[in-house]
Symmetry: C2
Subunit: 434 residues, 2 copies
Amino acid sequence: MEPSLKKTAVKLNELTATEIVAAINAGDTTCEAVARACLEQIQIREPKVQAWQYLDREQVLGQAIALDKSGRRGPLIGVPFGIKDIIDTADMPTEYGSPIYKGNQPKNEAACVALTRKAGGLLMGKTVTTEFANRHPGKTRNPFDPARTPGGSSSGSAAAVGDHMVPLAIGTQTTGSTIRPASFCGAFGYRPTWGDLRCSGVREAAGSLDTLGLLARSVADIALYRDVLIGVEPQPVKEHTGALKVGFCRTHVWPQVEPTTQKLLEEAAQNLSRAGVEVRDVELPANFEQLMDAHLAISSFEFSRNFTYEIQHHWEMISTTLRENRLKSGLACSFERYQEAREIAVECRRAFTSVVADYDVLLTASATGEAPVGLNATGNANNCLIWTTLHVPSVTMPLFRGPNNLPVGAQIVGKPGQDRALFAAAQRIYETLA
Amino acid sequence: MEPSLKKTAVKLNELTATEIVAAINAGDTTCEAVARACLEQIQIREPKVQAWQYLDREQVLGQAIALDKSGRRGPLIGVPFGIKDIIDTADMPTEYGSPIYKGNQPKNEAACVALTRKAGGLLMGKTVTTEFANRHPGKTRNPFDPARTPGGSSSGSAAAVGDHMVPLAIGTQTTGSTIRPASFCGAFGYRPTWGDLRCSGVREAAGSLDTLGLLARSVADIALYRDVLIGVEPQPVKEHTGALKVGFCRTHVWPQVEPTTQKLLEEAAQNLSRAGVEVRDVELPANFEQLMDAHLAISSFEFSRNFTYEIQHHWEMISTTLRENRLKSGLACSFERYQEAREIAVECRRAFTSVVADYDVLLTASATGEAPVGLNATGNANNCLIWTTLHVPSVTMPLFRGPNNLPVGAQIVGKPGQDRALFAAAQRIYETLA
């Protein structure tokens, strides 16, 4: 079966994954046409944005044409996607953002990549990551302003989705590595409940905090992609029924949020209220402030053990940023301090159940504001760190523009294990505010 | 500094790691001499035992001589160790027990391998694993009777340690993959508190259950090796002070334990009691029986997602055992059932706190009895499954001989996060009973 390639006015690279699948299933377009549209956008924009660590145009087109010829169907049929380059791929190099692994070609393909391809997805290439998904940045620039950071560590995944190069990409999050760059690049971002999505084949940063992260251009796409990665039949986002109860949670890092962003969030809370949503202020218990230090101890301790081989054999090829921060503090951290930090996290996870008991979701900042100027750092991750350490799911949605007309996200935080309910609430909030 | 190689009557390959380090530090032996003794034992025994997937004699000797020349010291200086072949090594192939990965050479080295080498350990080679650490057996035979299974999935690691080829080896455990083969092969085995030892570079089976597992020939060696893998200065095993309170826990799978093994454990409990240990019977709450099905759901669901690439691309190279059991049940398991199973595990972990509150440790069976005859299966893992799913630490100690004069272990189970206290209690129990 050779689907006919209809002429269409819409730009195929600007469609969401859901729209692409519908168009291909209806015979309105082909995998090849979608791939060509995305490749064209990349050709135009990549010299400025630098989102891709590896992309082979012929390889992509060959796989797109093969998908069309096969007549295959699937929940992500023909949807181009990008994969953060700390995730193993069997037919593309995987360099972990480090010169140590230049040209490294794994024999295995990470579970998340294989599951996306099983669903019909078309792997476009590997997106730029900071060094080992830590802080030392790669070459990527913010698609809205090349003088600014795209955020990190999932820099290329966020920039590629925000810049309409691909509708979907996978990143990871150990602190704020998906939500923050998504906010900076005008994308939807999702950090799942810890433990739900398999990380096999993903280079571990700090396993007790790491999750995959998804970048997309709608809540519906995030929900669709999550089901694919869980390995189940996709279900559409349910409509949130009844009253929606939102806790407006400024957190103890609110003073770090820029006044313009504070104002955007305050207004959003008021607008939700006016639209009939029950919005009330929520304060986190005082001991949640300990999560900052606890996260530092846990992530640094684990990271510094995980990279023993690189430390022992390739010290001089590790960035000063990584050596002087994460590795130094990790190697200096005792096991007792690490265990204590994990206990604090467990306590706070337990206490969080009461904090959110009366709400469907929390509304909070995704980042301090617009992407900061400069390419040497990826921005403040403290607005994500709390939720990451609590193991709870969250999404960021590109609801605002800051003083420089750059994207600013709003973060919606859900209850652990209730990611579907989070999507339903986020969708309602987006429709109310957008 | 070139340490002198003294003539010695003891067989160097029969020394524990602690003894090897002391001998090398005292100048009584060299890394090379220890390596040669282990290689000699392997040369004699390997044709029968088949513990090694990869071993290059010249590579080992070269590294041993280099260690001697370097004058390096370290908590595991000169200690030969084996690594289960689902764990990545940068200078030896890693085949995951599957023909799919024949000759696969990772560029990275797993955290546990690099940490052992950092401590001065000498990597002898890769030990045989069952296919992807699941049930389909490799070539290894039980060192005490070649007609019997060594157990699995850490078959080669257990056989190599039990047969005095190396004093230390790393395995993994997702059900009973360290404790059971250790019991069958006359070795000490240790499954740590889930989450304590980094699994980066270890091929994931079911991440929410997987841990490393250690094989050794004394409790002191296990404690030493654990500290090396945590990445801290080793501390000797503390003496258990005051009364020792042991709960004798037959569990609901007691009827599966052979009568001769039941008798050995009953007598051990009585002997401990006679020696002044406070021993009382402990029953697990009735709902702990649900852990069997919960473990099956969790492990199968995760495993079947983790191996999507192999399922999609190499189905015909996967064993019938794996396809018809783990993969079939995993692919048929809904996400709701998986989540429910995880909830049951969380509930039981919570309840376990009360179960052990009045005890230092529990005494229970490591396996149903001696290693069964036959090489097509690796034995019943139900005596380990409970503790694995509870995320608690345990050790097995080679305390008994069964009706065929083959090794039978006793399993000592500790409280989560209290692995050092477990070692102290296990040491006391061993000294009392051995």
